[in-house]
Symmetry: C2
Subunit: 352 residues, 2 copies
């Protein structure tokens, strides 16, 4: 099945075969060697000098980790979609004080929306989704970052964009930046990563009730031994190492970002010709497109017919179901493969 | 490398190749079909009618899950090794009231040790490690279970025994039983499982501050849709499905348990002949053996020499380092492979 959903993504055969390599012990010398290859590559990918940790969890687990380790006063959750809402739910569910600033799905969060609020003394953390895949919108992280005071932590989910889009973590002053294997990295699901600034590490020392599994002091202590905290998915680390090599030194980051931009442009042009693009102009995601269903087609039927042709796309997320449909164009997909999908849709819907 | 450590374990080539199968979407029909094959097999494996959930975490994550979801008054942590101690640390770190009953490493926890304490009104949960791999000891779960009052929850870690040892979850009244892929199941690390009784589910409803990632209500809600909560490691689910098929219908559970017993017996006989067995007689683990270093050999050197011959065993855990060494005999290892390892040790140490 050709996956054009917002993730998981198709994984190249050569990479999948790498999964079959024999197992090594996670407290062995061989493991530490692998670890010491991986961490510098992850730092290059995220453009950071901060610590980078590997977690045996999904990225949602690291959203919980971020909140439990850093919020001691009050967290401001910026919400303009389902995943921004998830940050808020996680904050509440972990017994932390929090407030939201909300915008409609499809409208970006702007500096002007937050700059007064973030100055309030009791706000110590701000959460944001970079690429809000429920609305296929990219929030302007750099601009928002400018509004955030020095002593406030900025926690950003880049789950559906890191590796496909230029996200300079240090330049944008992101204290915690989290993502997983199964989106733009083009790998199977099963591991998540977060970059953590020194400021966040210091802050976490004064936070109580951090739990055990996701506690930063434990991540730090195992990192100093060139190991992960718990037994990680070792086969996935093998392919991650190979894929980061390909991304950094074969395709190259610049070219990878450019390819994602190109695929986004192709999809938007197609959408504008036949339907419309859902999020506000200038804030469309580069890794997936939400097509506004202006023709009032039956999306479920379209998805079913595409499935019969071996293609998978997504309906709109939650309340946008049937009102939009989403085409993922990320990871190792090629513009030619995307064009084939769009041709199939044209054929099914009789578009010319 | 031939792994004779307490895990991770060698994974058979045929299973590793299964990892390379193409990806499917985790919210797709294909995924739900896979899910509906997996859950009944996991129930057979654990001999339960309780719910079984799949978690994208290591088993340690599910220890945290168990504690956060069930303890509202006070937890009694039974400790006779490093992993029993971990239960206690997790309980404390999650801000729960707790107490321990401790025995020396190598001494089992018996019914008589706990039966008075567990009657105290404020104790609502009891934690235990079935197979305490730090001391290579098997705690008598069934016997301890008899002492636990009906309204108290019994949380048991079977990480290094489930799939290799007969653990009838329902018969032994285990409310939460947790384990992972990387030990007796003979698979790569990366996923964990827990069985959860109706009593534990009811109890969790009255517990506050359960967090988000590991909250039981979310596990339940996705299970009702035949899905996992977050994007799981899909390749690992493929091999799990294949391996459970092999365990249940190819080798058969009874034979698998018997093979583990046989390998334990071989290792103990060898240990008694040349050294001694560390834990108390009658409570030795069936999946790994801690050899008491009565000859005062240099364990690190032995491990190094075995490594040169392509075998990996483990030093004693923590404070038992050099005083013991540990040989894992679990998952899909054959008695003949184990005998080869012992021959190599004999050869290195000049034992006859």
């Amino acid at each position: 099945m050709e996956l054009f959903i917002p993730g998981p993504v198709n994984v190249n055969k050569e990479l999948r075969e790498e999964l079959s390599k024999p197992m090594i012990g996670h407290r062995s010398k061989e493991f530490s060697e692998l670890y010491n290859e991986l961490i510098p590559k992850l730092k290059k990918l995220t453009q950071t000098r901060n610590k980078v940790f590997i977690s045996t969890s999904s990225s949602t687990g690291l959203m919980e980790a971020s909140i439990r380790n850093t919020v001691s006063k009050k967290c401001l959750n910026l919400v303009n979609g389902a995943f921004g809402r998830r940050w808020h739910n996680i904050t509440k569910r972990n017994g932390k004080k929090c407030e939201t600033i909300s915008k409609e799905w499809g409208e970006p969060i702007r500096k002007g929306d937050v700059e007064e609020k973030v100055k309030e003394k009791d706000i110590d953390c701000v959460t944001l989704i970079h690429n809000e895949s429920s609305a296929a919108l990219e929030n302007p992280v750099e601009e928002i970052s400018e509004a955030i005071p020095d002593d406030t932590l900025f926690l950003v989910d880049t789950v559906s964009s890191m590796g496909g889009v230029d996200i300079p973590v240090d330049e944008w002053d992101i204290d915690i930046c989290l993502f997983g294997t199964q989106k733009c990295l083009g790998l199977p699901p099963g591991l998540a990563f977060f970059t953590v600034s020194q400021k966040a590490i210091e802050k976490s020392k004064e936070v109580k009730d951090k739990g055990y599994y996701f506690s930063l002091d434990r991540f730090l202590s195992y990192d100093s031994k060139d190991q992960t905290i718990t037994t990680p998915n070792i086969p996935l680390l093998y392919v991650l190492n190979q894929q980061l090599e390909d991304i950094l030194n074969e395709e190259g980051l610049e070219k990878r970002w450019k390819r994602h931009k190109e695929m986004a442009q192709i999809t938007r042009n197609w959408a504008k010709k036949h339907f419309d693009v859902f999020p506000n102009k200038g804030y469309e995601s580069k890794t997936l497109t939400a097509v506004e269903n202006t023709k009032n087609i039956q999306v479920t039927k379209l998805i079913q017919k595409l499935r019969e042709r071996n293609y998978l796309i997504s309906n709109g997320y939650g309340k946008l179901s049937e009102k939009t449909f989403r085409i993922g164009h990320l990871a190792d997909k090629k513009p030619s493969q995307l064009r084939n999908l769009l041709k199939e849709i044209n054929d099914i819907l009789d578009l010319v």
